[in-house]
Amino acid sequence: MTDEILSLNYQVNGSDLQSAGVASSDVKKVLRKLGVSPEIIRKVAISMYEAEINMVIHANGGTIDVSISPEQIKVVLADNGPGIANIDLAMKEGYSTAPQTIREMGFGAGMGLPNIKKYADIMNITSELGKGTTVEIIVNIPQ
């Protein structure tokens, strides 16, 4: 870790949909304290929240590593879940594999990944069936 990067790490509990969003809420608070502009905070908070919810719904939780530098904010969400069979399909708005119970709770509308893409400057997904998924979100801070 260089002096220029601040790291935040979170464990996301997979069984608890009610506390999903705690990590993104904390990151929002940190970014506000760092004086990051509201627009950037919004991009990070919303994209990270969506990815955090995905982790809880599909992958029984995981870890989130956030690295903040004056130039960019990088969020890496890694899980050991079932993996995504077809990433292109998963990126389509409205496509969802969430079970009925989750949908009944108002989640799983198939907007998660498309929304992350919309708010992130760069989004990378790597996934292996049966092993897990890693979502990387990068939001640049205009200098």
Binding site: S25, K28, G35, R42, I68
Partner: protein, 426 residues
């Protein structure tokens, strides 16, 4: 009252403060610390919600308001009672008796704030129909909520209803008609708000979205309560003084403003912590398909204001009962447009939470905070005078507190020294 950019109505009576941590733990914006055995309010973080006033067991937290004798500095004195006042007296079932009692206090004329509430409701209905506005619209009548959004929810600032509060609408009308009626110059006319709320005092000194408040002072309901109550017991309702409407009255109660708008897709929330939770959800765009959100900092709405006397739930029931005697509203549809009540200035984000001057400096302080926090007991006991271990870590990193302010750290250090000394003896 002196003009001061950082003025806050909520303040401390140092003599009464015992240095306990009740207020520190209750403050929703972490704006209080105990320093040298007394509470200290971090001015720029305080939103005047009044939580500390309600929670202090020693009544050391006070709201600075104007002494009611100030009205006698003016030739023509006008009272603007908040609708909350009407729920305060168990002996008064009729608003006219309460208004008559206010006149006996020395006021020449009364303009009820509820008439302004009806004006704002009508203008809001029109505003909500406009294209291009940010939805959901968040009410602007609670100054503690507006201030909260300004310091903590920068992305919601442009959701705030850009209309004047009911009391400012009424104050403007009252002064105008008093000048016409009496022929007196404006500065001889004193316009006073009878307030349930500390934050309204702050917004009179430093108006939200206005260059200048139309008020000449803010008097707390609790200040005049005793004298009013003694008049009320002797009075009959023989004069029709009120312009009450069911809709205007309901503004004193959580959900009242929303109800007056007659819209389906709305949320009403009261109590500062509940408000923060809802705003947090809005901020993350987790709430959709809602047109209007009414947020009131005090539990139950303005009836729960820190400057009231009666239990908020009792007051609320009483007002609902009184409201049954009146028509919904007298305002004709379309007679008021948003432009009539528009704020003069935009409500802006006030970044007060920054740790340092630059992002780099803030990052250094944050990294240091993290390091210190790792060594903390994480019990959030508050004994150090900060609300949590994290807040103390941050205070230490910023140079405002010392590591040994933590009682556990102190004990550790003490044990260490005792051991050292024992070893010396051996």
């Amino acid at each position: 009252m002196e003009k001061d950019k950082y003025f806050h109505s909520v303040s401390l009576d140092r003599d009464e403060c015992k240095g306990c941590t009740n207020c520190v733990k209750k403050c929703p914006t972490e704006a209080i610390r105990i320093r040298n055995g007394k509470a200290k309010i971090i001015k720029e973080r305080c939103i005047d919600c009044g939580e500390c006033i309600r929670t202090c067991p020693y009544h050391a937290k006070k709201a600075v308001t104007d002494n009611y004798k100030k009205i006698f500095d003016y030739t023509y004195k006008i009272a603007l009672p908040a609708p909350t006042l009407y729920g305060q007296f168990s002996t008064a079932k009729d608003i006219n008796i309460i208004l008559k009692a206010l006149k006996l206090l020395g006021f020449d004329e009364i303009y009820e704030v509820l008439t302004g509430a009806d004006m704002v409701s009508e203008a809001t209905k029109e505003y909500l129909k406009r294209a291009g506005i940010k939805k959901p619209v968040i009410n602007s009548a609670c100054p503690a909520v507006v201030r909260l959004i300004q310091i903590r929810f920068p992305n919601l600032v442009d959701h705030i209803l850009p209309l004047m509060s009911p009391v400012e609408c009424v104050a403007r009308e009252a002064r105008k008609s008093a000048v016409e009626k009496t022929g007196l110059p404006e500065d001889k006319i004193g316009v006073f708000f009878i307030s349930p709320c500390a934050a309204k005092m702050t917004s009179y000194i430093n108006p939200l979205g206005l260059e200048k408040s139309e008020l000449d002072g803010v008097i707390s309901i609790s200040d005049i309560y005793g004298e009013c109550a003694s008049f009320i017991s002797k009075l009959e309702a023989d004069e029709d003084l009120t312009k009450a409407t069911a809709s205007g009255l309901s503004w004193a109660i959580s959900g009242g403003e929303t109800k007056s708008l007659n819209i389906e897709k709305s949320i009403s929330v009261s109590g500062i912590r509940n408000v923060i939770n809802v705003l947090e959800e809005l901020d993350d765009e987790r709430i959709d398909d809602i047109d209007f959100v009414e947020c009131l900092a005090c539990t139950g709405g303005c009836v729960g204001g820190a400057l009231t006397v009666e239990n908020p739930f009792v007051a609320s029931a009483r007002i609902s009962q009184i409201a049954k005697n009146y028509d919904i509203s007298y305002i004709e549809k379309g007679s008021i447009i948003p432009e009539d009540l528009m704020l003069e200035k935009e409500i802006e984000y006030i970044p007060v939470m920054n740790l340092g001057k630059t992002m780099k400096e803030s990052m250094e302080i944050m990294a240091k905070t993290q390091q210190i926090y790792e060594t903390m007991p994480r019990l959030d006991c508050g004994s150090c005078g900060a609300p949590s271990c994290n807040a103390l870590s941050e205070d230490i990193a910023r140079g405002f507190a010392k590591e040994l302010d933590c009682v556990f750290k102190f004990k550790e250090k003490l044990n260490f020294l005792i051991n050292e000394m024992n070893q010396l003896d051996d």
